[in-house]
């Protein structure tokens, strides 16, 4: 497999407050899986790239257990939208909104992401 040079340069950026924060090269992400990133304020984000190549980011903290593990869950699609299932107790979170699909009362922060 060859990777076009400009593709490896492409950076994934997250919006934190008013700033865009550069995370890593897009090529470091595996389609269908996530990685964790450390943000300037000490919080953690879970960053995913789906099958279409779209990048999503939500808080890494699983609100049901408190552990910083959402980045290590499995990706899937439900009703057309991408979600991640927490690896601990398997609740699913919509990657675009951070809403928990199994409990209306729970949601996590969803970050704006751009690739450039």
């Amino acid at each position: 497999m060859t990777i076009a040079p400009e593709k490896t340069q492409t950076q994934v950026q997250l919006r934190v407050g008013h700033e865009w924060f550069a995370l890593c090269a897009l090529s470091l992400l595996t389609p269908g899986r996530g990685v964790a990133a450390l943000l300037p304020d000490g919080t953690q984000a879970a960053v995913f790239v789906d099958r279409e190549g779209a990048v999503h980011a939500i808080d890494n903290r699983d609100p049901f257990t408190g552990a910083q593990v959402l980045s290590r869950g499995l990706l899937g699609s439900a009703a057309g939208g991408p979600f991640v299932a927490s690896p601990l107790l398997k609740q699913r979170f919509d990657l675009r909104t951070g809403r928990c699909l199994d409990d209306d009362a729970v949601s996590v922060t969803a970050y704006e992401v751009r690739v450039g």
């Binding site: 903290r61 257990t65 552990a67 699913r92």
Partner: protein, 865 residues
């Protein structure tokens, strides 16, 4: 805060926030009362209502939070004022006020007493000594658990339903446990003499000591005043460090008594059919009430009926409570006990149909009325039929009663499906849900799954004993209404796991995306799949890897994205996001050198170390970035992955066998090691466990394994389909006196046949019970080659064995594969600061409080963001 009410909003004050109190609040909310009235609840306990019926499940890991009965923001949403830890102390019926211990005073228009019961403690000397407990609240359990840490023996006073539950809990806490019961048999209220005898045998076989027909005369104490024994009425003395009283309950009617409400002779606040007390502004519901039929009900279902009745009466609907039946099923101890309806055969002219087998501890009795109708019954040792029989009570069963008690296999097994029940049969007695209501949920409210029906009707959300019948009913109803019952794996695939296996095998597909896009449901094609089918398909591809030409390494290319997180990191994730490490120790045999390496690694990385139930060693608390370093050392010392993370072979346990043991007839250790090395890494629908014993004494517990081997003088006996865990099953004998080679060949076939035909997450035990023809069919296929597939099964296994490689050594030698083992993609050198540990018994455990704090506060001590 002073009570502020305008005369237009009526106030309802509820005293007691237990199971029935909460159900009453829900019934008010459903009727929209919460918006029209002020509702105040006084709760004596430090926590809101929880599931007392499931109390004992705390000891199997349910947390107090999980036991809660109050959903999310229920109280806020309905504007209900709940005062925790503040019991009502006095009622002034003239002024219509209730005053609490904290001095709060509320004026009520309607008062509802739901104060439940208190455990009765017989007035024996030293009954309040240190080490004496009752068994009613979460706080009681916490105290027992704490005290049991320093105790060795426990005694339960009372052999009724709750006493047996408490005894099971003490045994579970590791205490030598005694049960002292005054009556001549256990569970005297529910079962008859025959049932009591069967129950006694089973419970004694489980290692508990039962003293029936004996009373407790005195609790004896040591100099410090702590319990050290019990003097019994038969003159004997029982040494014990801990005593739990479970000698029945009494209604908590003191408040009502002091306020001058009418009280029954033997206690209980007297109520009419609408649950009103002698003061029409005051209701009493649940265990504190003496119902209009003269009984105090100690069960939750009648309490819920009363809650509904009181709420209906308050909103001027007609409803009454005139009595309920006393069916119960014991949930604990691994003994099935159930009684329902007229269990003692009190009705005139009734006859018993009894089946009794003392050998296996099974006793079943049905009470049949003069018209042939089923009046009640007692089931001990095998209560599978409870879910079907209880709703049939009152009607004439569709088959002869003898057939209902005979075990399957003897005589004609009664094919009694839920279709034979009338619509008004109560399926869920906890929530009083009839078959008609459940059918309605499917036909009118378009529920298509059991969870949906549970949500819609509440059926199955109490004690859980009706869930099996519920499932059958939902499927039958769906089929009847023309909806094809979807046996698909998940929302992405309409095929079952077995069908997908055949597709992958015959078409030699190795890409999940291709499988999804070509064979998935229309709506799922082109999507991301889901967390159910991805690991399932990954497992099928891995089982068949060499045969279909897929890479054997489970983390290559697309495969990496499919694996559950445990497989993805080749380790088991723990509750704080750290991982555990389990090196393979084949057959449980290990050299001192290797033990020392494990010790050194654990010491150097500060890992919590524990001997597992699988004859090997688990090292807990490694951060993701430490896994490769730790494994590099382990691989160096000759260890390999133990696959504790995968749905794969776990361990083959062994006993010491012929080499050392005076009874051994074969070398069980060698066979266990050979088998473990042969099947290591084999991906399967669920985990696989095995064991080899050197003789019939069976020290390796082979009969509780997916495939178990027991040595005979002539070779080996092979047992299959055994299971420990939640639903233990004894394995069945598949073949006898096999040579080494015959044994291995038969296991090869058996495992490959299972992998091919089982459902996702179906252990061999459930698979064996599910597949048509059961054991006989499996024997036909794998021993007699009835389907002509044995050669293929053997070659599939040969491919697996030839291509096995250790996943961890492949990983640590490849920088590309190692890249994923970092805490942060943008800061590969920074360890995750939330993975922290605190000391416990000279080792460590996860710092859980840290997880409940938002990371900012944890890191900087500031709540600002």
């Amino acid at each position: 805060m002073p009570a502020m009410t305008t005369p237009t909003t009526p106030t309802i004050v509820v005293v007691g926030h237990g199971m029935v109190g909460q159900r009453f609040l829900e019934a008010l909310a459903e009727r929209g009362v919460a918006g029209r009235a002020r509702i105040v609840v006084l709760c004596e306990e430090p926590r809101a209502a929880y599931d007392r019926v499931q109390l004992t499940s705390y000891f199997s890991g349910r947390t107090p939070d999980e036991l809660s009965l109050v959903e999310g923001d229920f109280m806020e949403r309905h504007g209900i004022e709940l005062h925790l830890d503040d019991p009502a102390e006095t009622i002034d019926r003239d002024a219509r006020t209730v005053t609490s211990r904290a001095g709060r005073s509320f004026t009520y228009d309607t008062l509802v007493l739901a104060t439940g019961s208190y455990p009765f403690v017989p007035p024996v000397p030293n009954k309040d000594a240190e080490g004496c407990f009752v068994y009613r609240t979460i706080e009681d359990l916490l105290a027992i658990e704490e005290y049991a840490k320093t105790a060795r023996t426990g005694a339960v006073v009372g052999g009724g339903l709750l006493g047996l539950e408490a005894a099971g809990a003490l045994k579970g806490l590791g205490l030598t446990t005694h049960i002292v019961e005054f009556a001549p048999r256990l569970m005297p209220a529910q079962v008859d003499d025959g049932g009591g005898a069967a129950l006694l045998r089973t419970i004694e076989r489980m290692g508990l000591t039962v003293h029936t027909g004996t009373g407790t005369q005195e609790i004896t104490v040591d100099e410090a005043g702590a319990v050290n024994g019990m003097a019994l009425s038969d003159g004997s003395v029982l040494d014990t460090d801990l005593v739990v009283f479970s000698a029945g309950v009494r209604p908590r009617d003191q408040l009502g008594r002091a306020a001058g409400l009418a009280i029954g002779e033997r206690g209980g606040i007297m109520v009419d059919e609408q649950c009103r007390t002698s003061d029409p502004a005051v209701f009493a519901i649940g265990e504190c009430a003496l119902a209009s039929d003269g009984r105090v009900y100690g069960l939750v279902a009648p309490g819920y009926e009363m809650a509904e009745t009181a709420a209906a009466t308050i909103t001027e609907e007609a409803r009454s409570f005139t009595g309920a039946d006393m069916s119960t099923k014991l949930k604990l101890l691994g003994v099935d006990v159930a009684s329902f309806g007229d269990a003692h055969g009190a009705a005139e002219g009734c006859l018993d149909v009894v089946y009794s087998d003392s050998r296996s501890g099974v006793y079943k009795k049905l009470v049949i009325g003069s018209e042939g109708e089923l009046l009640g019954g007692v089931l001990v040792g095998d209560a599978d039929a409870y879910g079907m029989l209880r709703p049939l009570t009152g009607s004439v069963p569709p088959v002869a009663p003898e057939q209902l008690v005979m075990p399957a296999g003897i005589g004609a097994p009664a094919a009694l499906g839920p279709s034979s029940l009338p619509d008004d049969a109560v399926i869920c007695s906890c929530h009083n849900v009839t078959k008609g209501t459940i059918r309605g949920a499917v036909t009118e409210h378009s529920c298509t799954t059991v969870p949906e029906v549970k949500k819609c009707t509440k059926a199955g959300t109490g004690c859980g004993s009706c869930v099996k019948v519920l499932g059958q009913l939902v499927n039958a109803e769906l089929e009847a209404s023309g909806v094809e019952v979807d046996k698909g794996l998940c929302g992405c695939f309409g095929q079952s796991r077995q069908e997908l296996y055949e597709i992958v095998h015959t078409l030699r597909l190795t890409s999940y995306q291709e499988i999804l896009d070509r064979h998935g449901r229309e709506t799922a094609r082109g999507g991301n799949g889901c967390e159910i089918c991805k690991p399932a398909v990954a497992s099928i591809i891995a089982s068949l890897a060499p045969t279909i030409g897929a890479g054997g390494y489970v983390l290559d290319g697309e495969q990496a994205a499919l694996q559950d997180t445990n497989d993805h990191f080749l380790a088991n994730m723990q509750k704080n996001g750290s991982y555990s490490i389990v090196p393979r120790i084949p057959g449980g045999e290990i050299t001192p050198e290797k033990l020392i390496v494990i010790g050194e690694v654990a010491r150097d990385y500060g890992l919590y170390t524990k001997i597992t139930g699988g004859q090997r060693i688990d090292l807990f608390g490694a951060r993701v970035d430490q896994l490769p370093q730790i494994w590099a050392r382990l691989v160096d010392a000759g260890f390999e992955s133990g696959h504790a993370y995968g749905k794969a072979l776990r361990t083959v346990k062994s006993c010491v066998g012929q080499t050392w043991c005076r009874y051994g007839v074969q070398d069980s250790v060698k066979m266990a090691i050979d088998l473990e090395l042969r099947y290591r890494g084999l991906r399967s629908p669920h985990k696989l466990k095995s064991a080899v014993s050197g003789c019939q004494r069976e020290c390796a517990e082979a009969q509780s394994k997916d495939f178990g081997v027991i040595a005979t003088a002539n070779g080996w006996n092979l047992y299959v389909g055994g299971n420990g865990g939640a639903t233990p099953r004894h394995a069945d004998l598949l073949a006898q006196d096999l040579s080494d080679a015959e044994l291995v060949r038969l296991i090869d076939r058996f495992l490959m046949f299972y992998i091919r035909t089982a459902d996702r997450l179906e252990r061999t035990s459930t698979w064996l019970e599910r597949i048509e023809g059961g054991l006989d069919h499996v024997r036909d296929v794998v021993v007699h080659d009835a389907l002509g597939i044995c050669a293929e099964l053997e070659s599939l296994m040969a491919d697996h064995v030839a291509n096995y490689r250790d996943e961890w050594s492949e990983t640590i030698n490849d920088p590309e594969r190692l890249r994923r083992f970092v805490s942060f993609v943008n800061a590969p050198d920074v360890p995750d600061p939330t993975v922290k540990f605190v000391p416990e018994r000279d080792q460590v455990k996860p710092d859980l409080p840290l997880l409940s704090i938002r990371p900012l506060e944890a890191l900087e001590g500031s709540a600002a963001r």
